[in-house]
Amino acid sequence: MEESIQLQVSGLKKKFGAETVLNGIDLDVHKGEVVVVLGPSGCGKSTLLRCMNGLEAPTEGIICLDGAAITSGGKNITKQRQKIGMVFQSYDLFPHKNILDNITLAPVKVQKRAKGEVEQQAEKLLKRVGLWEKRKAYPRELSGGQKQRVAIVRALCMNPEVMLFDEVTAALDPEMVREVLDVMLELAGQGMTMVIVTHEMQFARAIADRILFLDGGGIVEEAPPEQFFTNPKTQRAKDFLQTFTYEKRNKIPSEIESFERRN
């Protein structure tokens, strides 16, 4: 298995000023594996992803892609970021470019690929997510769900080896969540290596090969999804999962009576 490790995080610590956000994270992501990171708000999930492609510099520890260390800053980092696609929670398309130009900009300017070839690939990807008709539209003309699908296509058009998703559906209206998650499910099915942060528990359970539960700056629990969701080992994971379940409360009899009388 050793050689199939694609992304390796070892001893990662991250401090913002005096606040320690990540306190020693070790994680190996294998080729084709889908790792879903769960955890309460503010536990450092975004920070972990941002460290993985050098948007934040680790305070301590090393992150390697294909065995080569990712060091934020320096010339090397832009090369490595081309192999790591990232999609954020906020809709982050470039508002001054149409959909096709949003997608082709980096492959053409950064990877110096031929415009025609890139456009072909972009159109093919857009067809796959059902947005080919929108290729000449501007981001402001798209719904949130459509924007996120374009953001995914934009990252994919760089032909990355790993994709990072940071709560890409958190800002969406409920009816648009599905269309974005479906794209991610399809991607996982094709064997893309993915690290996903999400609050969609059903989705996490369906897509994950492995769940990572983060709390208090460390990995509290690491398990296959079925085990994590049906039989979590740690109390903190149990408490966390509890916040996603709702118990039906019994109505007070007098209320039911008055309800029945009214109807």
Binding site: T78, F88, F94, A106, K109
Partner: protein, 224 residues
């Protein structure tokens, strides 16, 4: 002879003189605008530096220019500097100097505002696509900044054109001054001349500024 003040405009070269007066105003403001835009862009970028020293310096400059009435700046440049340093600045050169200093400060503040209004995630997503700082600036930041800036710059230009009428107070014969001369010279023959002359000046200012500000509106709507 009945008083038909409108005739004043056609006496001798009066109308031409008014146009020449307007040209003086336009010349001063246009030179100042043309200098202010590149200088203001540099100043605006300078203002976004995180260094506390450059921050304070640019803050002080901006506040100084803002607090001082333009008239006071004009007097300082024309009367003060000439006396204090023995430089012999012509009135027009002092005016260009003051309006450029003012325009640079205002333009700089617009540029700074446009630059910091670009959300952080635009930088992040460009970086995540492997763009260098320079590529991000050229392909992402500058085009978005320009869109915000063009209408604002045009508004600043019309403000500068209008404010240039102050130069009359350091002795430059611009359009208002010419108007006053014409009115004074014809005070007895045409008592209502003032109405006509100022009416024409109003129309001239309108003709100079209106196309510029309506262009601004159009661009603003297009790029909303």
């Amino acid at each position: 002879m009945p008083d038909s003040g409108i005739n004043v405009l056609f006496l001798g070269k009066n109308f031409l003189r008014l146009l020449e007066g307007l040209w003086v105003t336009m010349r001063i403001s246009l030179i100042a605008v043309i200098l202010s835009i590149p200088l203001g862009i540099l100043f605006g970028m300078f203002m976004t530096l995180k260094n506390p020293i450059t921050r304070t310096l640019s803050r002080v400059y901006l506040e100084f220019i803002r607090i001082m009435p333009q008239l006071v700046l004009l007097f300082i440049a024309y009367f003060g500097v000439t006396r204090a340093f023995g430089w012999n600045l012509s009135a027009e050169l002092s005016a260009v100097l003051v309006f450029t200093l003012w325009g640079t400060a205002e333009m700089g503040d617009l540029v700074r505002g446009a630059l910091i209004s670009i959300p952080k995630h635009q930088y992040d997503s460009a970086a995540a696509l492997g763009m260098t700082k320079a590529q991000t600036f050229v392909f992402i930041i500058v085009p978005q900044t320009m869109r915000r800036l063009i209408p604002l710059t045009i508004n600043l230009t019309t403000r500068m054109i209008k404010t240039t009428s102050l130069v009359v107070l350091i002795g430059i014969t611009e359009v208002l001054k010419v108007g006053k001369q014409i009115i004074d010279a014809n005070r007895f023959d045409y008592p209502t001349a003032a109405l006509w002359v100022y009416g024409v000046i109003f129309a001239l200012y309108f003709l100079a500024c209106w196309p510029i500000s309506s262009l601004a509106k159009k661009l603003e709507q297009r790029w909303r």
